[in-house]
């Protein structure tokens, strides 16, 4: 059954109306962070990030393609929120899809938030030094990782791939 038991709850009108009454985007994020269903979904998804993020992404597309943006605005916003916790790159892709398809309110705001958030993080990353296949990255929050030991600051988790030459593809995933 996987994540589908969560999908049923999150897609329901009963779930959505908890958040459609809210008057602020920060309120929405605060309540999403506290919601038990979303917390459990994220926890289970973290056990297999690749499969789970793909599953959630596909479900977002299914909702938009089958029902249209009007029927599941808060649900889609919630899925985007979850994806942001699980896999920022997939969250970005899903967000762009939501914007292309169109949304009513919260789904669009969440999508923009994720895309702008990702832009802010990329801007804050800078290469500080490269020597002997070890690459140090620093972020705006002064976290650093060492390629050879793959140690990371507890607050953040980075995934990156070394390519040919000195060019590195950076993929970011944040634990929270």
């Amino acid at each position: 059954m996987g994540l589908h038991k969560y999908f049923r709850k999150i897609d329901s009108l009963e779930f959505q109306v908890q958040f459609s009454v809210l008057s602020g985007f920060s309120s929405l994020r605060r309540y999403f962070a506290r919601d038990l269903t979303l917390t459990e979904l994220i926890a289970e998804a973290m056990e297999d990030i690749t499969q789970s993020s793909c599953s959630i992404n596909e479900h977002i597309r299914h909702l938009l393609d089958r029902h249209g943006p009007r029927m599941n605005d808060e649900s889609i916003a919630a899925y985007l929120y979850c994806l942001k916790q699980i896999d920022l790159a997939v969250a970005q892709e899903a967000s762009q899809y939501v914007l292309n398809k169109g949304g009513v309110w919260w789904s669009v705001r969440m999508a923009l938030h994720i895309l702008q958030y990702e832009d802010q993080i990329k801007e804050s990353i800078s290469f500080s030094s490269t020597e002997n296949n070890k690459v140090r990255y620093s972020t705006g929050n002064e976290s650093t990782i060492d390629n050879s030991s793959n140690t990371v600051e507890p607050a953040k988790r980075f995934m990156f791939t070394k390519k040919e030459g000195n060019k590195h593809q950076i993929e970011l995933a944040f634990a929270s």
Partner: protein, 181 residues
């Protein structure tokens, strides 16, 4: 035929100013303009019916649904922008300051005053007091008109709001007492 919202093709937001002249921030539509589609009256009614049914199960009732408008304004926009704008709830204290509001006690509450609902010390909702009934000098009934997010506009008893909107925690007013002795 779905009812559409205001055509945002050229960003029809108009600036809203407080009494002090300070600009009241609205949601920066920006990229939202090309991505948004409207909600319908039926959408609003469908969601509101669920919310009211849930409230009823908890023993809370509302007086009347004033409007199922599909226009996108929220509780702050209803009160401070005449239903023309969505203004984020966390702007409320800035507006109070710039509009000359002061905090009042519950006992001083009257029609036209504002109720702030909070959850975990964060403002979640505001409502406009429409009726205060006193007996023997004590307040017995307070009715409030408020817009529940992107759902309906509802007249309700003070404490009859969805749990996500918090509890009535503060009362604000800009009323001026009579200058005559």
């Amino acid at each position: 035929m779905p009812m559409t919202l205001v055509d945002f093709g050229d960003d029809t937001r108009k600036p809203i100013y407080a009494r002090s002249g300070a600009l009241i921030p609205q949601v920066d539509y920006g990229d939202l303009l090309n991505a948004r589609i409207g909600q319908t009256v039926e959408d609003v009614q469908r969601r509101t019916d669920i919310v009211l049914a849930d409230l009823s199960k908890k023993g809370k009732r509302v007086s009347v649904v004033r409007s199922y408008s599909s226009c996108l304004y929220n509780c702050v926009g209803m009160i401070f922008a005449c239903r023309r704008a969505w203004i984020e709830i966390n702007e409320i204290y800035h507006i109070f300051q710039e509009d000359g509001f002061r905090k009042i006690r519950y006992e001083e509450l009257g029609a036209g005053d504002i109720v702030v609902y909070s959850s975990d010390m964060s403002p979640e909702h505001v409502g406009l007091v429409t009726t205060v009934v006193r007996r023997g000098g004590k307040i017995e009934v307070v009715e409030v008109l408020s817009k529940w997010g992107r759902d309906a506009e509802i007249v309700h008893p003070l404490h009859s709001v969805p749990s996500t909107l918090g509890i009535a925690s503060e009362y604000w007013s800009e009323k001026v007492a009579s200058g005559f002795a």
